[in-house]
């Protein structure tokens, strides 16, 4: 099967799954809205205002947030794994998500006191933190003439550890009362996002996706080693910059608009690779859908398992991700390696 047709088939299957799950998730929730009422709301027919609010303002935005965040994280994971040629790479390994998280925790602990928080304000802190982390990683790793991949990974780990420690310091001095909120955010949660931030999130994620997709063919060639790729006409430095930038942008966007969610960027690219092969041109677009599907499924569980209380989706992704991965790894047709 040729790559384009394989891609098309995978996208169709995933697209269908996403549609079905999204629709299904609209019907499930802690508010007792009957299926008939949901249909009435969707169809634009007369419906109770409460039902309309629940479907349009709560469930739908949260579903969209899950799809977008999951897709962004998975694409970032494909990019980082291809860039570092390391199967354990995931968005958090390159320090960017810790930096973004640090920015947000700083804002939560110091900047914004009693009174309503401007969501955009938190987002700005997240991007600032991510930017500082990204620049730090780049500065530490870059040598004259290039960005050696192994130092990139090391620099990312170092910067990630630094910011994680900084977050721990902040946690240790935060008010007892605010502690619960900060820790809750750090576990990774999805919430309904308002239209304007959602639109912004989509734009930023689209930019990151475009950057990574645009270099996905070159990313394949990087598997030959940098020298091999250069000899085939690949501008290796440009590829690395764009992939790093795109993946960092995607990661920062997720942390900024949603929060730090782990595991998606590690598991989904691997699972897709096991099923579809290592070609990044196929993996990047399918990761967008596959990641969204995975996170949407996890979040639907998270908000319904112990309703009306909610689990953090980060808890679900860790719990469900590992066994699934083990199963795939042991399946006979496994093709491993970035």
């Amino acid at each position: 099967m040729s790559q384009p047709s394989r891609l098309l088939a995978a996208l169709s299957a995933l697209g269908l799954a996403v549609l079905v799950l999204s629709l299904g998730a609209l019907f499930i929730g802690s508010a007792p809205v009957s299926p008939g009422a949901v249909l009435a709301v969707l169809g634009g027919r007369a419906a109770a205002p409460v039902d309309e609010v629940v479907v349009w303002s709560l469930r739908l935005p949260r579903i969209l947030a899950a799809l977008l965040a999951g897709g962004a994280l998975a694409v970032a994971g494909v990019g980082f794994q291809g860039l570092t040629r390391n199967p354990l790479a995931e968005p958090s390994v390159l320090g960017v998500s810790s930096g973004a998280a640090f920015g947000v925790v700083m804002a939560q602990v110091f900047g914004l006191r009693a009174g309503l928080l401007d969501t955009l304000g938190l987002t700005a802190f997240a991007f600032a933190g991510a930017f500082v982390a990204g620049v730090a990683v780049y500065a530490i790793a870059a040598r004259a003439g290039g960005l050696p991949v192994h130092t990139l990974v090391l620099a990312g780990v170092i910067v990630g550890i630094f910011f994680a420690s900084a977050i721990t310091v902040l946690i240790s001095i935060v008010d007892f009362d605010r502690l619960g909120g900060v820790i809750h955010w750090l576990l990774g949660n999805l919430a309904p996002i308002a239209p304007v931030p959602l639109g912004l999130f989509t734009l930023v994620a689209a930019l990151g996706f475009w950057l990574v997709l645009g270099q996905s063919r070159q990313l394949n060639l990087l598997a030959l080693g940098e020298e091999g790729a250069l000899q085939l006409g690949v501008d290796a430095e440009r590829v690395k910059r764009r992939i790093f930038g795109g993946a960092a942008l995607l990661t920062a966007a997720v942390v900024a608009f949603v929060g730090p969610i782990g595991f998606v960027g590690l598991i989904v690219p691997h699972a897709l690779r096991l099923m579809l092969g290592p070609d990044n041109r196929v993996l990047v677009p399918t990761a967008l859908l596959g990641g969204g599907l995975f996170l949407l499924a996890a979040d639907t569980l998270a908000r319904n398992l112990i309703a009306p209380a909610e689990l953090s989706v980060g808890v679900i992704t860790s719990f469900c991700g590992a066994p699934f991965f083990i199963y795939l790894l042991r399946s006979p047709a496994a093709r491993i390696g970035p």
Binding site: S30, A31, G115, L116, S172, A307
Partner: protein, 303 residues
Amino acid sequence: MRRSPRIPVLVIGALMGLLAWPALAAPFTVSDQTGRSLGLAGPPRRIVSLVPSVTETLFAIGAQAVLVGVTDFCDYPREAGRKPSVGGMVAPSLETIVTLTPDLVVATTAGNREETFTQLDRLRIPVYLVNPTRLADVLDLIARLGALTGHEAEAARLAASLGARIKAVSERVTPLPRPRVLYVLWPEPLIVPARGTLVSELLALAGADSVTADGGNGYPRYSLEAAVAGSPEVIILARHGGRPGPMAGDKWQRFAELPAVKSGRVYTVSGDLLHRYGPRVVDGLEQLARLIHPEAFGKAGRP
């Protein structure tokens, strides 16, 4: 002569009407405990409380009829448990809140998350924020809730009786010497009440000299050394959730030279009484006073 003043008056009137539009459209304007102004359509008739203290207070002033939703932690009085729950304090279910169609949600900046307020704001559900840090705030909260729910009379009565009890305790202990007291909010890590907290204020009112009163702001993590160096004559351990847990007294028994341990004055109190900003705070105060000054109140030992 009649026409000329009319038109400017109309214009000015219209302008004022325009400027006052928000208030006109919202005939019931209140300002919450953080100073924010909320415009409501009328006195709230369906309140969701995200704060256990507020739930307690609403019941205490007889306003429980307007309470349509509470959190899992709103466990006092017993009847509160029968109200529909919206989940935890940190992550309440927005869907459940919306389904209850409240016209007001009462929340606190200490315990609820600002993300929740933003979401409720977006759903156009007014949020009344409270943030009591002192005893005066607690009494103020009672008055506010009374005004909000039209139960001003009961609120005033409650506040008056609480005020009288507070005064009684204060007068009883004023002439007495103040023992050094260590209050343990949480044993590991050691968390104690310091400047600007309700518990510190209560300890002072109960006639204690809290060894951690100046040890920082809020409820800081405290070093065990410093606590022991304060040489407390009384140690009070807060019990959370009704079961004797990590705050078990035997941890302190190894400091046998501490005056408190030597004289056996290591007590436990219910954290719910002292950490919630509801009317039971005064019960907590009286309990503290009895433990710290048994000679003045006639009863010593565990409550």
